[in-house]
């Protein structure tokens, strides 16, 4: 039996098993039969095992160069490095669906296993709900997009198939899609538990405790996946930025907003029994929006360089699935609406509850704004017969202030007390951060004055010029001020926590006291570290406001000015390896006449794709900025080189912030041991 047949059969069995688990779980819930429920749990484990088997089959097919399978033929090449053969698994549409099924099956098994005793009443509903979602995707594999589909007649071209696009043969292909998938697929788990809680009427915090870690896990991988996508674009594509508000980028971002809101809003329910309706709605929306994201990317409904291409059949199938999820989920919520009443009331706008509610509103608004703006062109074309495109400026105009609002809430939220913040508490909490924030703002405005003076060639700027400069950079300046404010709040929290720890145990060193905080109150201080990471990212993003871009055509020997630097064309090199031809430009980066680095932007012509050369970016990275060069075209006979040159101030703080954020997440998620001793 060949791989194609074995694989197809395993998918069919997978479908049947999944269907069985749904039936067993539903029956078990209805008849309250522990045996039937246990059977459904076992079926869930079996589904995971079989999904793993099917996945290993497709990987085997890649490694064995089984080009009788269409999917392998389209996305692989016998000459491809082993590494990329494995990643080709999720490189194309069919395989990515199987990857989805694999992840969902494994997550379902893990989630059920971890919770089957603690939440015995909810488990059957969790099982059938997760299995139903899984069934949809397995159904897609079986009936519409089988990755094991063989050719009827094996094509005659021997070992040279189309192969994976060279743009995809880099390390990011290994980590960006899986990270994003891990984030999306894992959102199904909190969703299933949320729905199970509503169905069984157990709407208090119990369900959230079981999914708290999952939600943080989802959020971390979603965030990481999105940032890796941005880093990939920045390092590989050569247009000098990391986010373009492209529809597929947006598809990934939209669920992130509601997931972030959910993550925070849960704390309010846990602490005060409020926002239950918000929380079920947010978890439904997060999951639903992740499917919307998949739909947008795969259906061809939106135009994008990233999208898989038009597929009306898939569009219809996903569209119906989306409607069913939305109507079904909110229908159940509507049925249980009264049960989801809050236990307590909002007492004051100066309360943590209010700040979190504002947080919910801002994030929800941002999610729907991005979603609306992303699909508006399609709507406009279908219903108004008017084709339009929406540019970055439209997104940035609304999203930047939204981001500033979030930054503000991030600083203010932890300082406010529950229920109502007293005046003394306000003073005590806000005084130092406000001072630091104000100082930061003044310093930044002064720096802007100095920079403007430099731009004017040493002349003192007039009030009008200064005003114009401030207006042009108002959001960046606000961001910097708020970064100062928020960092001060985080440091203040740590300082106070450490003071208390040392008071209780004077022999502790500062470091030990700090570590004790992280261990004992993991969620709180881990959360602060995550916030610190996010603040650093905002800092990095704000630098964009001061960026410089130049498009030039130079010959060897020419020099161009770029901000504080000079870029000198030192020459061109033509080289070749077994995969490609390369032309590299050597650019000297000079500052005050001194050579600080040599950039080597290049263009590569892969033999396999001679018409689609890739752009290789080169950067000089410092803490303060990147000097970034990408080569457009080059004429070897004249030496004439088209370059795009950028100064990207503070951009590396985005990546630094990401690492800090990951560290914070690791602390928050932590180990199993100390789950009780928190806050």
């Amino acid at each position: 039996m060949n791989v194609a047949t074995l694989g197809t059969i395993s998918l069919l069995v997978l479908f049947a098993l999944c269907l069985a688990s749904i039936a067993l779980a539903m029956l078990g819930a209805h008849r309250k039969s522990a045996r039937l429920v246990e059977a459904s749990v076992q079926a869930t484990y079996a589904v995971a095992a079989l999904a793993a088997f099917a996945s290993s089959l497709i990987i085997y097919a890649f490694l064995a160069d089984d080009f009788s399978i269409q999917y392998v033929h389209h996305t692989s090449d016998s000459a491809m490095p082993l590494f990329y053969k494995v990643t080709a698994f999720w490189g194309g549409l069919d395989g990515s669906l199987l990857f989805w099924v694999l992840l969902l099956s494994v997550f379902s098994a893990l989630a059920v296993r971890a919770n089957r005793r603690r939440h015995a009443e909810m488990i059957p509903h969790v099982v059938w709900l997760l299995a139903l979602i899984n069934l949809f995707f397995i159904g897609l594999l079986v009936f519409v997009k089988n990755p094991f589909e063989p050719f009827i007649l094996t094509p005659d071209i021997g070992s040279n198939s189309r192969g994976l696009n060279p743009l995809l043969q880099n390390a990011y292909m290994v980590i960006h899609p899986p990270s994003l998938y891990l984030g999306y697929v894992s959102l199904a788990v909190p969703y299933a538990f949320g729905m199970a809680a509503v169905i069984t009427g157990q709407v208090d915090s119990a369900w959230q405790q079981s999914v708290r870690r999952w939600t943080l896990f989802s959020w971390t991988f979603l965030t990481l996946g999105l940032i890796l996508g941005g880093l990939w674009a920045y390092e590989e594509l050569g247009w000098g930025g990391y986010w373009a508000w492209d529809p597929v980028e947006n598809a990934g971002l939209i669920p992130w907003f509601t997931a972030t809101a959910f993550l925070h809003s849960m704390m309010i329910q846990e602490r005060r029994g409020m926002l239950k309706r918000w929380n079920v709605s947010l978890v439904i929306l997060s999951f639903w929006l992740s499917i919307v994201g998949t739909f947008l990317t795969r259906s061809g409904v939106v135009q994008s360089v990233h999208a898989f291409g038009k597929d009306p059949q898939l569009a219809w199938i996903f569209g119906i699935f989306l409607i069913v999820i939305l109507v079904g989920s909110f229908g159940v919520v509507a049925w249980r609406w009264n049960l989801l009443r809050s236990r307590a009331e909002l007492e004051s706008p100066l309360s943590r509850e209010f700040a979190f509610m504002l947080n919910n509103w801002v994030l929800l608004a941002m999610a729907f704004f991005v979603l609306g703006s992303t699909i508006w062109p399609t709507f406009s074309e279908w219903f108004l017969d008017e084709r339009i495109t929406i540019r970055e400026s439209h997104f940035n105009h609304y999203m930047v202030p939204g981001g500033i609002a979030l930054l503000l809430l991030m600083g203010v939220g932890p300082l406010l007390a529950w229920r109502r913040t007293s005046t003394e508490s306000l003073q005590r909490q806000f005084l130092i951060p406000l001072i630091i924030g104000s100082i930061t703002t003044v310093v930044v405005m002064a720096l802007q004055w100095v920079w403007l003076k430099g731009e004017l060639g040493g002349e003192v700027p007039s009030a009008k010029q200064l005003g114009a400069a401030y207006r042009a950079h108002v959001w960046a300046l606000s961001a910097f001020g708020l970064c100062g404010f928020t960092i001060a709040t985080i440091v203040q929290e740590f300082a106070r926590g450490i003071a208390v720890a040392k008071h209780n145990n004077p022999k502790l060193s500062l470091l030990d006291a700090g570590i004790r905080l992280l261990v004992r109150a993991r969620r709180r201080y881990g959360g602060y570290i995550i916030h610190l990471g996010v603040v650093l990212m905002f800092f990095g993003i704000a630098g964009k406001s001061y960026g410089i871009e130049r498009k030039v055509v130079v010959k060897p020997g020419d020099t161009v000015a770029l901000g504080d630097y000079e870029i000198e064309h030192l020459g061109l090199r033509a080289t070749e390896d077994w995969q490609k031809e390369m032309i590299t430009a050597e650019l000297g980066v000079l500052r005050d006449g001194q050579l600080v680095d040599v950039l080597t932007p290049a263009r590569w012509w892969y033999f396999q794709l001679p018409d689609q050369p890739t752009t290789e970016v080169s950067r000089y990275m410092t803490v303060g900025e990147d000097v970034y060069a990408s080569m457009q075209t080059v004429d070897l006979t004249t030496g004439s080189t088209q370059l795009r040159l950028f100064i990207n101030p503070l951009v590396n703080w985005v990546w630094i912030g990401t690492i800090v954020m990951l560290f914070g997440s690791a602390i928050c998620i932590g180990t199993r041991r100390k789950q009780g001793a928190e806050q």
Binding site: G92, G95, R162, Y184, V305, G309, R387, H397, Q632
Partner: protein, 139 residues
Amino acid sequence: MALSTASRLGIGIISLSAVAFLVLSSPDEGVLEYVYADTVVETPEKFMDREFKVHGNVVEDSLRQNPDTGEYHFVIEYKGKRLKVVYDDLLPDTFAEGGEVVLTGRLDPGGGTVRSSEMSAKCPSKYEEEPGAPPPQAS
């Protein structure tokens, strides 16, 4: 909610003002009309005075570059209607004569030429449904 009426009113006013401010201060050119070259040729009056996106196929052998200014001159066509283009930026990686391009620009007062500094180009071989061809940043 146990918030006082004053608080609720205050919150409402602040929120609405913030949203109104954003909407009213919105720059005009965030949303662009997207048309094919034949529409522009047939009804140029509709496209004066504003930026728009025009989609067409680059006519073979029409590409010239002004050696002094670096500007590119070429012709795009759609359904037989031709439009001249003056493009003053660097050609995108995937530009090729015969291929499809989308230009963002303005129409010259004469109506027959588009001036543009922004172009995206699809290479002549279409991506379509090839799995693995475009980066699958999928969910």
